[in-house]
Amino acid sequence: MTLINLQQVTKRYINGADCVTALDKLTLSVKEGAFLGVMGPSGSGKSTLLSVLGALTRPTTGTVTIDAIDVYGLATEKQADFRREYLGFIFQSHNLIPYLSALENVMLPLAVSRFSTTEKRRRASDMLARVGLPDRMLHLPQQLSGGEQERVAIARALVNNPPLLLADEPTGSLDTATSRQVMELLAELHCSGQTIIMVTHNRENLEWFDRTVYLRDGLIEKDTGNSDCSLSQAM
């Protein structure tokens, strides 16, 4: 079943007399449960694609449909609700709130939900346990290693059980061993049915994706198509 559908999506950035086309009439469909890798050189439009998918950057033209919802047909506040309910973000530099503990960082998306405090705490601690940090809950981000911070970021992205996980270079600042651990975790999530779209520069990550899209100048240069769960390949 198709979860994401981009139709003729163009995004232009205009700065004075300069006009940069980051995405050029891009059309893309992603099935539910896919682990899609997005690769390409700098300036190819990878981050813009992720931003457009994440209801963060309105495309200049074209439509973005996720789970049959026209994302940019929603009002601004409804887009925020959409992000909270449908999307989980993993940022390149973790982007944890430095004055909140790991548990509180994971609870952040729940802070504006109607769950009781006990339920919020339970969900967040379950998620931290799931990413392998049951004993680091009360640590502040600066007390955690890069890999642990990335795991907290993944837990935060998943705590609302979103249908789609968007990851922007999640291994970009990690060493090889830690990168592998993070990719294993994402692959495990993928095999449990989580749809993931991940932007990366690292060709070593290719093995984890069941589909890879190569971008160049805002266009799809190559699309490997769908394949099965990558966990078995990685293991």
Binding site: S51, E77, A80, Q92, N95, L108, T117, K120
Partner: protein
Amino acid sequence: MRLEHIVFHNLRRRKGRAIFLVVGLMIGVATVVTLLSLTDALSMRAQNELENFGANIIITPRSDQLDLNYGGVQLGGVNLVAREIEQVSLVNIDTIPNRRNVATIGPKVLGTVEVQGQRVMMMGVDPVAEFKLKRWWSIAGRPVKQGAELLVGDTLVKRFGLAIGDTLQLNGQDFTVVGLLAQTGSQDDQLLISPLLAAQATLGKEGKVSMVEIAALCHDCPVDDMVNQLQQVLPGTDVQAVQQVVKTRMHALDQFRLFAWGVAVTVVIIGALLVFVTMMGAISERTREIGIFRAIGYRRRHVLHLVLMEAAVVSALAGVMGYLAGVLATLVTLPLLDGGKAIWHWNPTLALAAVAAALLVGLIAALQPALRASRLEPSEALRAL
């Protein structure tokens, strides 16, 4: 976890900025509270003085004749064809709407009698009321009570060589001197003062009074309204308010109050600017953080809520601390002013107003930064994406 949780954690993390804001606003609130508390205390002191000042309303018969003068107040004709006030009409005073503000009614009858061949002024008074009105009188012997008793003014004591126990015959009636009035520097020094009934009989003015002095409790009471009310129930009289001295002082206090409010408004504007600039700086500093909030699904109003709540917490704290500091400053300053006679009174309205004003100023000043924060596009805030 709730949004409040994030606010308190952020304040705790950015202690320096929070303390700077609290102290800045606190100084503003304390300055305003000190000035207004001082004005309040000095005003109340002036009001109390007004109450103890003696008579502040004088009722005299309306007269077109050349008048005698008593205490700088025009009196109805005493020497000429006397027009007096009927004593029974004074019960009407108890019917005015502001009767509760009437503390003391001092009726007086005035006339002249002959002592050792010289004409002197005699004044009959209601002893209880009169000695309440003339708290500054200093008497050797005792005040008159009833019957043919005399209290003699200082000038007459010296002129006629009178002493306590002496007897004076006035219009054929023997009066005993029971008290000698110490020098007052007023026309009281030239009076023979006796109980009202005895004076009326001696002067042939039974049932008449020449003037009435009234002490009205005037803390917040409308003296001018009372004058009009008395004028209506006592036709044929002139009712005048006598409060020039206190009014002059009240005028000075009004000027001080005006100055205090001027300073207050200036301080409030400075406080608002302080909050505005600090919050704008904080928003710039937290741009990325706000981007994260927006990206993970916080609505604009959630961000607005976060910023305004932070401003509210800081402002309310500054309001409470500023009020307490202001009270402390008032307590320290007050003994140095007005000879230490003015007393600080707790004013719940000022306490609430101080906190509410600090809160309001903080929220209004933070509104623009909060709106700016809430309007940040998450993609712009998060450069990473």
